[in-house]
Symmetry: C2
Subunit: 366 residues, 2 copies
């Protein structure tokens, strides 16, 4: 293998694929980046067997071939190269020689044949939507996934397509995010996509007004950008029947300014978070909601003006779950939809019918 | 105690004094901020017994008095207050009541009498220089102090004033920074100032072209800014006789472009730092210096053009120590002054006679 390429192209490609490098693997070759020189291109591939990222850059290939470099060192080294031509050459004894200006370096490599072969399957069901819309959906949903390994299905987001409507759902047992959106799709299907995969896809998006096309097979996902491809395993198993959790009607509806309520909850949380559950209490009475919290370090009591359609109610939540929701919406006003102090509560941005957030209350005494 | 003050003034003052809060102390009151309402001012004080920071803000004092709040929570809470009037009131049972808009909170306090009394002594020797000059000196010296508790004297910088020339010196047993500067001073004296104190002083500087006046007593330091005062203990003991370490003449002088050499050393360090000492080798030969490093992950060999006055030489250093020096200087060219491969090396910015940096070489085989 011998080729000449642009240092900046190489550095950009190495950084992009490095997101799929395995950090601590029992198989060291998964900490490597495979380089393939063929035709007019250098292709770089990294995989941890769950997520695979592949990127092609233009190269002047003098001799076709392939090798696997140690990802961590190659990333660091290439980042430090200035804007210059870089020559990569696999030496007879195996090492990779890197030449630039009138300098040269050599790096140890892994045996090429030990790098796994990742199947790239471009057939399957597909869904397609604007990159900017995809990013907005992921921002609003992925934070509600669980980090708990004991229920792997909750570490992903459900993508469910029914008659051209995409529903994306994440939940962790305490709260749930649901976004609905009309999109282009090949049919009715569903899949549970790991949250890490979704975040890596949003990081690769670079053309807001162009579409992203996600291809789904029974157990894997495939996305192709201009010179980058991403392949990911899906999470197997049945997702929670989220429609069963959603209340169908509400007795009380509160409209409130998001920023004012967020500020009050954040101040109350400083006192509350000394407590294990970060409990913030809400006393809803006519046109005022009193936000309060109490612990051994002191107490906070704040009044926030509201518009109430329904009857007075006292309810408590883990303040963190409300703050998480407020931080992902741009809208100025939210509606808080309630039944009783023990029933799930549903929050929505007032001017956006596509997003809803369910949170379970915390039982308190008195 | 009862007063009304501006929320932004309060938030700014609390953040400034909080740098002197004790993090883990056997005496919990040192995690508190003392508030004193008197005359037209609220004074805030925090101390960990080594460093004390005091700041005054304008206040409408309705009842004079004092209290000690829990620093961590008060900092967080005050940061979240919007731009509004804040009323602070010490209640009869002891707690501090905080009122703003139509909300109120209460925070637990420490017993006021348990907070230590810090003597403020404005007499003593003094030195005075432009804030911008002080900051530049500290940037160039403080990184070379030791973090090792076994020799406390090396955790500070020597300030030595002889006939209007200030020498500031820091060393850690492997390298040494020395800056000399003509300044205004009350006489000849010296002191060893903790590096943490010096960094906190630079963070409080806000008027680049005005002077800073540092007052030194036998075991403490006092600096007064507009509404802020800083008091610090000095480090006791005899500083290393730094003049004895400095070579008086050099057989070899290399002039080199800083950025080119820095880039080469950084790339070499990626390979070298796998090794415990981060050893980078320099082969100086006529007009070229070859920078190289080698470990089990590979090797780097780079050629950097130089101007050599002297004879060929091979020498090795811990790459990190050289990188630290290059990162604090703005100048484009540096001189590297050498005798043999086992003698200390002195680096200087070519166009700045006030700064020198000494670094010990590493012995290598062959």
């Amino acid at each position: 293998m011998k080729l000449i390429c642009d240092g900046l192209d190489l550095s950009d490609a190495v950084l992009k694929v490095s997101k799929a490098l395995s950090v601590k693997s029992t198989n060291p070759v998964l900490e490597g980046i495979k380089l393939i020189a063929s035709g007019d291109f250098l292709t770089l591939i990294a995989t941890d067997m769950e997520l695979t990222i592949e990127r092609k850059i233009k190269a002047d290939v003098l001799m076709e071939g392939e090798t696997v470099v140690v990802g961590k060192y190659f990333v660091e080294f290439v980042k430090k190269l200035e804007k210059e031509q870089v020559e990569l050459c696999r030496l007879n004894e195996g090492n990779l020689q890197i030449r630039y200006s009138d300098s040269e370096s050599e790096m140890q490599v892994f045996p090429t044949e030990s790098f796994p072969v990742i199947e790239k399957n471009e057939d399957g069901e597909y869904l397609s939507l604007k990159q900017s819309e995809f990013k907005k959906i992921i921002d609003r949903v992925v934070f509600a996934t669980s980090a708990d390994d004991s229920r792997p299905i909750l570490k992903g987001c459900l993508f469910e397509i029914i008659d051209g409507t995409l529903s994306v759902v994440a939940l962790d047992g305490f709260r749930m995010s649901v976004v609905k959106k009309n999109i282009e799709a090949s049919g009715n299907f569903n899949a549970v996509i790991p949250s890490r995969t979704l975040l890596e896809i949003t990081r690769l998006l670079d053309k807001e007004d162009q579409n992203i096309k996600i291809i789904l097979q029974s157990n894997s996902l495939y996305v192709q950008f201009e010179n980058t491809a991403l392949i990911s395993r899906l999470i197997e198993g049945e997702f929670v029947k989220y429609n069963h959790i959603l209340p169908t009607s509400f007795e009380n509806k509160v409209i409130v300014n998001k920023q004012l309520l967020l500020n009050s909850i954040e101040r109350a949380s400083i006192v509350a978070k000394n407590d294990r559950y970060n409990i913030v209490k809400f006393d809803i009475k006519e046109s005022v909601m009193t936000v309060s919290a109490k612990s051994e370090i002191g107490f906070v009591t704040e009044n926030v003006n509201i518009n109430l359609d329904g009857k007075d109610l006292t309810i408590a939540f883990n303040g963190k779950y409300l703050v998480d929701f407020f931080k992902v919406i741009d809208e100025d006003f939210v509606s808080i939809n309630l039944n009783s102090h023990i029933d799930p509560c549903v929050l929505k941005p007032v001017s956006d019918e596509e997003f809803l957030y369910l949170v379970l209350p915390v039982r308190i005494n008195g």
